[in-house]
């Protein structure tokens, strides 16, 4: 998953993004983003609103053209070869954008025509599993049912790459469970690749084996999930005297607290513990940081701090 991690062959790479940048006016939506996604992995993409997750996914779909840098999906440029690339991708967004006038069975027949690998038996099985009435107009379906239908539409042609852009946002736990099960099924049964963006870190933690974190268009973190969790530590510090400003701890990504009690989230390998002692502090607790804490730390960290950490992890 690391940018320069050697892979056995190029055919093992599902997605390769190199130095991708994109601006909207003066705002940088993506800033020199680079990563690769090997086949058969679940790639969790996290970041706050406006971090650039949807923009990145739209570049993978070819809906946005790279201003600088390159995007390759299965070795192809999705802008230059949209038909080939899109035929191998299943896509579900937060708002599925399905035509409201269409009936469920009409949608399935319509989509079947575009994908040679469309499996109508599988589609029907999913439809029954999701409890969707084939004669119902899409506009009469609830938000959760529309999300299920969107998932069905994205999955029934057994895509080699499933792109899910915050699919479970605003949905009830049952629908979220269905979506997660679909992701797991896609990977375990068929060995396909999933890129999954979400605000819900517990979902990411449950299904992803790799994690990428975007903040203000910059890739702050990109590594295997286990490695991310292993490398981040949460240190509870206590100082002899109350401090008016946060302690300067080398290797720290974020420091919070007040007075004598401070908490540091940092890189396990580079946190300078002797320096803490020299500064009059003692480590009361040293435990693995949760994904929530890692996310908040990277989101609130200054670019310089986060950048140094990115280099440390990668």
């Amino acid at each position: 998953m690391r940018e320069h991690e050697p892979l056995e062959s190029a055919s093992e790479i599902a997605v390769a993004v190199n130095h991708l940048s994109r601006s909207f006016g003066s705002r940088k939506a993506l800033n020199d983003v680079s990563f690769t996604v090997p086949r058969g992995r679940v790639f969790g993409l996290v970041g706050e609103n406006g971090a650039g997750k949807s923009t990145l996914i739209k570049h993978l779909l070819g809906l946005w053209r790279a201003e600088t840098g390159t995007v390759r999906v299965f070795g192809l440029d999705p802008v230059a070869a949209p038909t080939t690339v899109l035929g191998r991708i299943g896509y579900l967004s937060e708002q599925p954008d399905l035509p409201g006038w269409m009936r469920v069975d009409e949608l399935l027949q319509y989509l079947q025509a575009f994908y040679p690998r469309w499996d109508m038996d599988y589609a029907e099985a999913l439809r029954e599993q999701f409890g969707l009435d084939p004669a119902a107009r899409i506009k009469t379906l609830s938000k959760g049912q529309q999300a299920k239908l969107g998932l069905l539409a994205a999955q029934a042609h057994r895509p080699e790459l499933l792109l899910l852009d915050e699919p479970s946002s605003g949905l009830d736990p049952i629908v979220r469970r269905d979506i997660l099960e679909a992701i797991i099924r896609t990977v375990t049964d068929e060995g396909h690749t999933v890129i999954f963006s979400s605000h819900l870190l517990d979902e990411i933690e449950r299904v992803s084996d790799h994690l990428a974190m975007l903040h203000e268009g910059t890739l702050r973190l990109c590594a295997p999930l286990d490695e991310v969790k292993m490398r981040h530590r949460r240190l509870s510090l206590r100082f002899e005297r109350p401090r008016t400003e946060p302690p300067r701890v080398r290797g720290a990504i974020a420091v919070s607290g007040a007075g004598r009690a401070w908490t540091v989230i940092g890189d396990a390998a580079s946190i300078d513990r002797p320096a803490i002692a020299r500064d009059g502090g003692s480590v009361l607790d040293d435990s693995p940081a949760s994904l929530d804490e890692i996310f908040v730390a990277h989101t609130e960290a200054s670019p310089a701090t986060a950048g140094s950490h990115l280099r440390a992890v990668n």
Partner: protein, 545 residues
């Protein structure tokens, strides 16, 4: 903002400030022209055509400003802005603010323009102002309450406009003074009462919608004919056929339904009124044949968008992520346009079949047919010309549906507006300026005619060059099919043009060969090839932003 009313008014201003500024600019410019003496009146005291054009644009823009609807991304059909339902404001105020603002604005605009616009008779200014205010109420109420009719709302509102116009003319019909029921005070009272009733209906409808009431109660059965198209039960043979079905369901029926509506609501009754008038029948026949072409101009503006009727020009993600090339997506649009134009032509033919065989006075038509038969010494020539007229109508209808694909599919708001405004201005200019006068001016001097021919020839060269550039990247199978269609359409128009010019009495000092040359050049320009060729590249820019 201290009150909800101010906020609602600000909302209208904020969304349409450009249109409002244009109205103010046009009105001011017209006033300056008057003051500076640059707009001399004609013998009847009417303003020059340019000033009339400015006035018509101002009123059309004002109706646009008070088109108090918002389209949902899904259906693309404008409806009362439902986001306002969550505001702590009564339904009465939500409805009354735009209606009152609209009526007051149109009356004020009329007061500013009344001395510069032709009135078409001795109708008094207050009566016209009241009719315009009532029309604004009907217009807004129609937009809100007839949502389920979709594009047919335009037909309904057009018919309402025609009726209001006719009511405005009633007091001027003989005898003078008119009987009491046709007097201005009686008609004004009736229209004011009707406007109040329509306003109350609209208020009730919006209040019902706001409290979760359905929309199907109003015109439910008729609406069913618009949306109740049979379900697709079987699979599709190919991706192209699936997408054709999708495009057809989204936008294909708009033109045939509008044409059918106009024929039923306007031409049908008019043909009954003119059933004993041979010249009136001939005139109505030409209007009937021109109806699909005229309707295709505004429908084409909506049809050529990525999502019909929606303000959003970006390609919907549902379509953009399908594995179909930009060439195929545009080819589908072109085919749907052809099907739409063909069905519209069939609707016209069916109407003509019923009308001409039943209550029409065919003396005028027979006179023209006899003249043609005498000229060509064969009645088959008459049938041939009739068939060519129908085919040319189909080609021109289709042409207006597809000619803006290149600018609309680009997803570029400025390009879309500029091309739309240019067409609207051209259409209004045709209505305002005396085209016959311009043609007579051109043919009066041979050098003018020659100049026009040279300009047309240059335009053909530019068109062919652009077409060669545009089509070189498009799949050859699409090019082969389109070039056959283009050649067929152009040949049809050229043949018709040459045959028709032969029957026309020539005026001026130009000879028939000049007319025929110009006809051929105009026919070559009429059927789009460069613009259609540019459409896939523009769509691709929209798809891959």
């Amino acid at each position: 903002m201290h009150s909800p009313t101010t906020a609602l008014l600000w909302d209208i201003w904020r969304r349409h400030r450009l249109s409002v500024l244009v109205i103010v600019a046009l009105t001011t410019l017209s006033w300056i022209l008057d003051v500076a003496g640059l707009a001399p009146r004609d013998d009847d005291g009417g303003a020059p055509p340019l000033q009339q054009l400015m006035g018509m644009c101002s009123f059309l823009l004002l109706f646009g400003v008070f088109n108090y609807t918002e389209s949902s991304g899904e259906t693309g059909l404008g409806r009362f802005p439902q986001r306002l339902f969550t505001l702590p404001v009564s339904s009465f105020r939500l409805v009354a603010v735009p209606v009152l603002a609209g009526t007051i604005s149109i009356v004020l605009l009329y007061l500013l323009w009344m001395k510069r616009l032709p009135q078409g008779g001795p109708t008094s200014d207050p009566f016209i102002a009241l009719l315009l205010a009532a029309l604004m109420v009907f217009y807004q109420a129609g937009l809100w309450t007839l949502v389920r009719l979709g594009p047919l709302r335009l037909v309904a509102l057009g018919a309402v406009g025609a009726v209001v116009h006719a009511i405005g003319l009633l007091p001027s019909f003989p005898p003078s003074p008119p009987p009491p029921w046709r007097s201005e005070p009686a008609l004004a009272g009736s229209m004011a009462s009707l406007a109040v009733i329509v306003f109350l209906v609209a208020w009730h409808h919006i209040a019902s919608l706001r409290s979760g009431g359905g929309q199907a109660r109003l015109l439910g059965p008729l609406a069913g004919t618009v949306v109740g198209i049979p379900k697709k039960r079987r699979g599709f043979a190919s991706a192209a056929s699936a997408h054709f079905w999708f495009e057809w369901r989204c936008s294909g029926m708009a033109l045939p339904l509008l044409v059918a509506g106009i024929l039923l609501v306007i031409i049908g009754p008019a043909s009954w009124i003119a059933r004993s008038d041979p010249d009136g029948t001939l005139r109505l026949l030409s209007w009937t044949l021109a109806t699909p072409i005229a309707v295709a101009i505004p429908v084409g503006m909506a049809f050529s968008r990525p999502r019909i009727g929606s303000d959003d020009l970006s390609l919907p993600a549902f379509v953009a992520v399908r594995p179909l090339s930009a060439d195929d997506l545009v080819a589908t649009k072109v085919k749907v346009a052809a099907m739409s134009a063909a069905i519209s032509s069939l609707v016209v033919l069916a109407f003509l079949g019923v009308w001409l065989s039943s209550w029409a006075n065919l003396d005028g038509v027979s006179r023209v047919a006899s003249r043609l038969q005498a000229l060509y010494h064969s009645r088959y020539a008459v049938y041939g010309i009739a068939a060519l007229i129908v085919c040319s109508g189909f080609i021109l209808t289709w042409r207006f549906l597809v000619s803006r694909l290149w600018s609309s599919l680009a997803g570029h708001q400025v390009l879309f507006i500029v091309s739309g405004v240019s067409i609207a201005l051209a259409a209004i200019s045709l209505a305002v300026f005396d085209v016959g006068e311009i043609v007579r001016w051109i043919v009066a001097e041979p050098w003018r005619m020659t100049s026009v021919i040279w300009i047309a020839a240059l335009a053909v060269i530019v068109k062919c060059s652009l077409a060669a550039y545009a089509w070189h990247r498009i799949a050859s199978r699409h090019f082969r099919r389109y070039i056959v269609a283009w050649l067929t359409g152009t040949a049809c128009l050229v043949t018709l043009g040459v045959l028709v010019w032969k029957t026309m009495p020539l005026s001026g000092s130009s000879d028939v060969s000049q007319y025929q040359t110009l006809t051929i050049l105009l026919a070559l320009l009429a059927v789009p090839i460069a613009r259609v060729g540019l459409a896939p590249a523009m769509l691709s820019r929209n798809r891959h932003r």
